[in-house]
Structures are given as structure tokens and as C-alpha cells.
Symmetry: C2
Subunit: 509 residues, 2 copies
């Protein structure tokens, strides 16, 4: 008989660019999401959970990162029905805004207007995997659809500040920076309007104009990183960075570039001062004037509720990459310094952003539907709290009931049951009990606060041994070998006192 070839074994590997989250990582993120949901909910936002899958048609081409045009979606074609026909193309959602736009259009007769919703969940990007860049990550969004008033934008900004404080970012350690796309458009009209801004421009010139606008906005967006001179170079002749990479310039004149840089430096000591300076610069351009008026209203609404410049500032240098924004844009930045992986001090940077997008729902319905919202990068926020050095991690491992006699499994399980009913996390060791050392090693690995031991002798006397592993670890770290040998971390208590004794060790009693 022919030898049957053993089938090739599959590789046990997370797909490239994806990752797995274990125990405390999952718990911490969940706790943060719960806290954020609590704030959103208190503001009147309702949860919405759309499916992970959308038609490619509905998703559209709104991939947010204009700097990485290759960023794509994971997509596949449905089997045709009937056979031979072309099946729909489906894809994993790449953000939570596109599905909201679809929902707002689909259920427009059933949803309240305005519709405030929040959504939390993974999104997927078909990007080239790289260090620290994942193809699945969490977003946590809140949006108001159907409210054209800037009161809706102001509300989102206030809620964003409240949320950051709720998850543990201290006041003074963050700032919500607010700008307005209309103000940027006004600047653009002011800078280029004289030579290109006439309505009779031909199609090619319009395209070129949009193109130049993107280039200029992208240069402005780098203000934080490269400073005024850097932006000036990018806007004119181009700029070489420290690594020798050259970025082509936008070809503006020095005078035009000067206007832009003056605008970026318009941020004054107060929101009122900033708005006054903006008025001086571009207040007479129609779009600019309108945008400045909106910023003024947002600043006043927020100030009336006690959100002042220590938390929310008008900042003309905020651009936000997304092409679909049409009005106010905002960004939450953490201002404390961290030491990065190369040992350099730097500010932590952006953890959330958003803005007004009045055209997204219109794609489906043809009718204007104003909308504004914010997206919080939960994983970045968790990393920020780590970098800041948040609350110390309490051990959360279960009490481990060890197995001395395999025949007395039911007794051990009864102990674990008693502990659980008292709300104490507990488990019986379920591996091979032969090697007792392995059981204690296991308890250690689990981060157990205590191990319970009961052999024949203890059972006969109606007692159990409790090994306090937290105290044990401390003694092992601090004390001499002699002290360690005395094993004061192990005590004997009557079986009936098991729960009470554990409560003492866990600091619950």
C-alpha cells in the first residue's frame, strides 16, 4: 500500500499586520471604552453598532489619510446569484463615519433629528504592515447628524474635554485645538485669489487650484513639526529635512508664503485675541469672515460653560487631513512630555480629532445633511496613560486552589466555589497535579494573590494552608534567605475560615 503523505501543518501565526490582545490589555481597553461610553451617554448620545462589512459602493472613497494614498480596504466579491451575474463587492469598514453616513441616509425617516450616536469597535485598513502600524484597530466615535448649528460642534468639543478627564488625563495635560475649514479656505482665497480665483477659470485651472490647495494645507499641517521657517520653505522652494529627504515646494511667492505664516502665527493669548487677529488678516474675504464668526460663536458658547483657553483654544494651524471636512475642525492633543523609544523628549501629540462634514450623507440622498463628530484613538490614549505613568497595576490573578490528592477534586472545587460566591476570583489547578512545584509556578505565572493547599493531613484536621503570594514575593525580593526560609507568608486556618482569611489577604476585610 502506498505510504500516505502526512498533510502539511498550518502555521500558527497571527496574520501580518494584525495582533492578539491578552488578559489585562483587553480589560484595560474595555474599562476605557466603558468610561468613554458613560460620558457620551450622559450627553444624550445613543449607541449604534453597524456590521463590520459594508458594500464597497456605500463606503466610497473617503480613506482619511491623504498622506498615504495607497491605504486601502479589505474587499472581496460576493458569489453571484444567479450564477454568471456579477456579485456585489463587500469590504471591511475602514472607519466608523462612513457606516454612520449610510445609516443616517437609510433610516432617515425613523431616526430622531438631530441624531446623536456613538460607536466603538474595530476598523480595518489594508495597509502595508509596519512596526507599530496595525491593520485592525479600535475607534471610538461620537457624531451629531442633522444639526447645522455650531452649538453641535461646541458640544462635541466640550464632551471631548470631559471624556479626556474622565479617562484620567489631568486638566492642563491636554488641549482641544479648534479651527475652521472655512477660515482656511478664506486664507487660500486671500493668498491665491488675485491670480486664479475667478469663476470663469477653465476646468484644468480648477483642478490645479484644488491640487495646490491640498499641497498648501499639507504644508500648514506640518507647522507643529517644522515651525514657521519650515512651512515657509515648503510653501516656496521646498525643504530638505535632517535625514536628507527633499520635499518639493508649492511654488508660492515669498509674499504669499508670508501671508500663510502670519496666519499660522495668529494664535494670541486668548481666543478673543486670536479671533481679532484672524479678522485683521482675512476678515474681509467672504468665506473667511463666515468661518471666523463660527469660531467666535463656538468660543463664546464654550466659555459660558466654563471651558476656557486652558482646555479649548482656537488655533489657526489645525488642518486635519480628511478631505471631507466642511466647517469647524478639532483635535485633542496631550501636552505633557514623554521620552520616545530613541530617548528623545517630545510631546505625546494628538489622541482625537474630528470636525464638521456636511456632505457625507448627501452622497446617498442628494440632500444636504449637516453632521459633526469626533473620533478618539483609544489605543493611543491607552499608550498615553502608560507613558504618563498612571495608576499602578493591581494584580488581578485568581486565587489558585492546588491539588494535593487527585481523588479529592470535589473538595478543592468546593473551596473555589465558596470563594467565588464571596466575589473572589478563584480556580482549581487543572493541570497534572503530580509535580507540586509546577502548581506553585503556575500560580505565580497567573499573578495569583494566594495559593490554597490541603493535603490528607490538613483535611483530617479540618484546616487549609494559605500561601500569601503577594507577601511572599515581597519577602523574596527584600528579605534575607533566613527570613525567607521561615516562610511567614504561609498560614494555616480552619477550613471554615477560608473566605474570611482570603478577604484579609486581599484587603477586602
Amino acid at each position: 500500500m502506498a505510504k500516505v503523505k502526512a498533510p502539511r501543518r498550518p502555521r500558527a501565526e497571527t496574520p501580518k499586520g494584525f495582533r492578539d490582545y491578552f488578559g489585562p490589555e483587553v480589560s484595560r481597553r474595555k474599562a476605557m471604552l466603558d468610561t468613554i461610553a458613560g460620558v457620551y451617554h450622559r450627553y444624550g448620545f445613543d449607541p449604534l453598532e453597524t456590521s463590520a462589512v459594508e458594500t464597497v459602493d456605500a463606503l466610497g472613497k473617503f480613506l482619511p489619510d491623504v498622506d498615504r494614498p495607497n491605504a486601502g480596504v479589505f474587499a472581496w466579491q460576493e458569489d453571484a446569484e444567479p450564477e454568471g451575474a456579477a456579485g456585489d463587492w463587500l469590504a471591511l469598514r475602514y472607519d466608523l463615519t462612513a457606516p454612520l453616513a449610510r445609516v443616517a441616509a437609510q433610516y432617515r425617516n425613523d431616526l430622531p433629528t438631530p441624531y446623536r450616536r456613538y460607536a466603538m469597535g474595530p476598523v480595518w485598513r489594508n495597509e502595508k504592515p509596519g512596526p507599530g502600524r496595525f491593520r485592525q484597530f479600535y475607534q471610538c466615535d461620537a457624531d451629531t447628524v442633522g444639526a447645522g448649528s455650531v452649538a453641535a460642534d461646541a458640544e462635541i468639543c466640550a464632551m471631548l474635554a470631559d471624556t479626556l478627564e474622565a479617562v484620567g488625563i489631568r486638566r492642563g495635560d491636554y488641549v482641544v485645538r479648534v479651527n475652521n475649514r472655512k477660515v482656511l479656505e478664506g486664507l487660500f482665497d486671500r493668498v491665491l485669489g488675485c491670480d486664479e480665483g475667478n469663476e470663469s477659470a477653465q476646468m484644468g485651472a480648477v483642478c490645479d487650484r484644488e491640487h495646490r490647495k491640498d499641497d498648501i494645507f499639507r504644508s500648514i499641517d506640518k507647522f507643529d513639526k517644522v515651525g514657521a521657517q519650515g512651512v515657509r520653505d515648503l510653501l516656496t522652494k521646498g525643504r530638505m529635512d535632517q535625514s536628507g529627504d527633499f520635499t518639493k515646494g508649492c511654488g508660492l511667492t515669498d509674499e504669499q508664503a508670508g501671508m500663510v505664516v502670519g496666519f499660522l502665527e495668529a494664535r494670541g493669548p486668548s481666543n478673543g485675541a486670536t479671533i481679532q487677529e484672524l479678522r485683521n488678516l482675512i476678515g474681509n474675504i467672504p468665506k473667511g469672515g463666515e468661518g471666523i464668526g463660527e469660531l467666535d460663536e463656538i468660543a463664546k458658547l464654550l466659555a459660558a460653560q466654563g471651558y476656557h483657553e486652558d482646555r479649548i483654544v482656537i488655533d489657526p494651524s489645525v488642518v486635519r487631513g480628511l478631505g471631507y471636512y466642511t466647517g469647524p475642525v478639532f483635535e485633542a492633543e496631550l501636552t505633557f512630555e514623554i521620552t520616545d523609544e530613541k530617548g528623545r523628549k517630545r510631546q505625546f501629540g494628538s489622541v482625537a480629532g474630528g470636525g464638521r462634514y456636511d456632505d457625507l450623507v448627501k452622497r446617498f440622498t442628494g440632500q444636504l445633511m449637516p453632521a459633526t463628530g469626533v473620533s478618539i484613538g483609544v489605543d493611543r490614549l491607552l499608550a498615553a496613560l502608560d507613558a504618563r505613568g498612571g495608576a499602578g497595576k493591581r494584580p488581578d490573578g485568581p486565587v489558585v486552589v492546588t491539588v494535593m490528592d487527585r481523588d479529592r477534586m470535589a473538595d478543592y472545587q468546593a473551596m473555589a466555589g465558596d470563594l467565588r460566591r464571596a466575589g473572589i476570583r478563584a480556580e482549581v489547578y487543572l493541570g497534572n497535579p503530580k509535580n507540586f512545584g509546577n502548581q506553585l509556578k503556575y500560580a505565580d505565572r497567573r499573578g495569583s494573590p494566594a495559593a490554597i493547599i490541603q493535603g490528607m493531613d490538613e483535611a483530617a484536621r479540618g484546616v487549609v494552608q494559605i500561601k500569601d503570594l503577594i507577601l511572599g514575593a515581597r519577602i523574596a525580593a527584600d528579605a534575607s534567605h533566613e527570613e525567607w526560609k521561615a516562610q511567614p507568608a504561609q498560614t494555616e486556618v480552619p477550613r471554615a475560615d477560608l473566605v474570611a482569611a482570603l478577604r484579609r489577604i486581599l484587603g477586602q476585610g
Copy 2:
């Protein structure tokens, strides 16, 4: 200039077979998942969150539903790197067990042994969409990997019973039924062993044997629905159901079918009696005897912890569809009657199931890795609680602060802010405030407990009007028009007493 054709508008539609979940649906499921996670956690299980995407290679062909062989996965091929090479095939996970097997193999040197983990999240099935059948749904699993002892199976059963009670299923309204694949294999050997069970059987006969086994197990699985005579028909000459559909028979003799039915009816008044009856029937078949011994041990371990036949029963008719089970199998069934969509009374049926699968990790490593676990169908469980008529739904809408004067937006937002700081869900109306009736309709639609009203007159006097919408709705439903016109549901309070007054209405004071 040529007229530019307007681009076709995308359809605003949830993809076929998928659905969206709104407000209370999301909150209720989340509350249930949190409760279940609490129980799992207390039993020492750690959360694990793998990515939604796996390589097709790692997923393998373990689609659980043997009755629907067309059930498939959503899969796509990665772009090749370098170009021209074949890219990996990726797919959305179809359950949470396959990713666990991958993780257990991949991290086998880092995870504690045994490794207890729980996982909750959506899974995807590329099935033909149908009424009530969705292509994305939640699973909620707990598994123990690396424990060969049936104490691990018993623990899962006890935890399952605890979980059902924790989410609100009353004792007596559910039962966890336990069987063992080895017992079923023993039965099979007993029934067919005489003519085909010899080791020198040729490859074809072996395949045929496996095939017949699947057919027989599938017939047994229908015992609940078609009864003893139905199973007898299915095992022999075939069976016609009420709708006229004919299912081909397995071709057993009447004597063989009698053995199977005798086995299915072996469930006695106590677990001890059932096990004795099983011993009489197939105790002398090696596999059967081994399986019966395991069931006996599970029953004894559970009884010692107070889990008796009112909660967990040994039931020889439990099969569970999944081909990969190798030992104990279990199923949680809700025993109360519901009225189905056709007005017929029936038992609610299965809401969770699981079992031991000792070979899944071996696929990757070549080494045996015992494992056992359970999966709870959260959406079914929620439907069950609905059908049972659980706790009445409390209205959870926000207090709506209406807008009488557009210029006094900041005052209205201050009111909402005060309420939120007191933990009361509140929002300012952000739609067009012109039509006041629309604002009250909106509050109604949101399920608001109260609306706050403050015009110029009230502002001048330092008061607000509070419209108690819960009371208002009750009056509108119960009382005469005269009483309604008197509007007792609206009261005026000083602005400073706003929070206290709302607390009274919400029953918090």
C-alpha cells in the same frame, strides 16, 4: 462645454444578511456580555481578543454546521509581495475556537498551562442570507486548554449553569445536558461492530464507516424533534415529515435501530440511574466503558458542588454537530415554553453548547493538546429573555432642554451641564428651534423622561418649566381630555432647583 453627467448615487443599504443594532439593542447585549464576563472572570478565565482576520490556512475546515455544508467563510487573497508571487489567503473568523487553537499553538511557551480564556465578539459566516439568519453574529466562549482531566469539563458545565442564572434565567427554566462522544462511539461499535468493525477493513470501508457514523449521529440528533419512532425510521428505511419532505434512511436493520433507540431512552430519573443503564447497554465495549466512566466522574464532581439533576443531567441523546469533539459534549437548553411566530407552543431550546476537542491544537504542533470549552449564543439568549418577559424596559432617554431663544444657547447648555454633572443624562435640542412642537416631538421620540422649557419670561423670573413626559404620557393614555388640558404634568421650579426637581421625577431623590 459638454454636460458633466451626475455620478450615480450609492445605495444606502446594509449588505444582505447583515444588520445594524440601535441604542437599547446595543446596551442590552453589552450588559449581558458584561455579566457573562464577570462570571467567567470569577472562575479564573482571562479575556483574549484575537483579530477578526485569520489566514485561511490557520482556520482550517472546521465549519461547525454539518447540516449546511455550503456554509463558508468570507475570504480574499492578499496582494502579492513581491509582485507576481502568490499572496496569502485571509478570511474573517467563523468562530472563536479556531483562533484559540491558533493562539494556543503560537504562544504555547508563554501561556500558563492550563490556559483558561474567554472571548466575546462577532464571527462571520458566508451563508446565503435568510429570514432571521445573519452573516455576522456574536459568540461568547470560555475554554480551558491543556487540561485533560474531566474536572475541566465539569467546571465548564457548572460555570455555564451559573452564567445562565446570572443573566436572569431562573433555576428550573434551564438544564445543561451532558453526554460523551466516546459513549456514542461505543454505541456505534456495538451496533455496527459485528460486521464492519475489524481493523483489517480496507480504506473504502473505513470511509464508508465514517460516513455511516455521521448519518447515524445526525439521526440521533433529531431525537428531540422527531421522537423514538422518528429516529427509528431515519435509521432504517427513511422518514417523510409533515411537509412531505423525505429523508433517506441509514439502512440499519430493525434490531440495530432498536439498540440505538434503547440507548437514547436510557436517561433515567437520576444521573446515577442513567449511567447504570448505559453500562448495561454498552459498558462492555471498550470506548463506551471509558466514556461512561468519564460521565460518572463529571456527575459526581458536580453533585459534590451542589449541581444536581435539576440543573445538569446526563443525557445520551446529546450529539452536538461539530465533528471535532472527542469526549464530553454539553448543551444548555431552556425548558420553558414560548409561543413561536406561528402561534405554536414550543420549548425555547438550545442557547449554548460545547465539548472537549483534544485534536484542534495538534493540527498546528503535531502534539496532543487537550481542550474543552463552551460557546453561548448571546443573541438567542437575549431573545429568550424577551420571550420569557423579563424586567420591564425602563425609559433611558435623555432629559431634553428645549430652545426658546436661539441667543440663549449658552444658558440651555449650562442647564444640561448641571444635570450631567449630577449624573442625569441630558442634552440641548440642536435642531432648528423655530417650531416648538417639533422639539417636544423629538423629546418624545427620544423616550425622554422630561423636557425643560425656559423662555424670556421664565428667564426674567429665574425659573424653568419642567414637563414630566412619563406622567404626561400616562395621563394622555388614561385620563379625559379635560384632565389633559389642565396639564398637571408641567411644573415651574426656580432655576436653582432644576437638578433636585429632575431627581424627584426620575425617582432618584
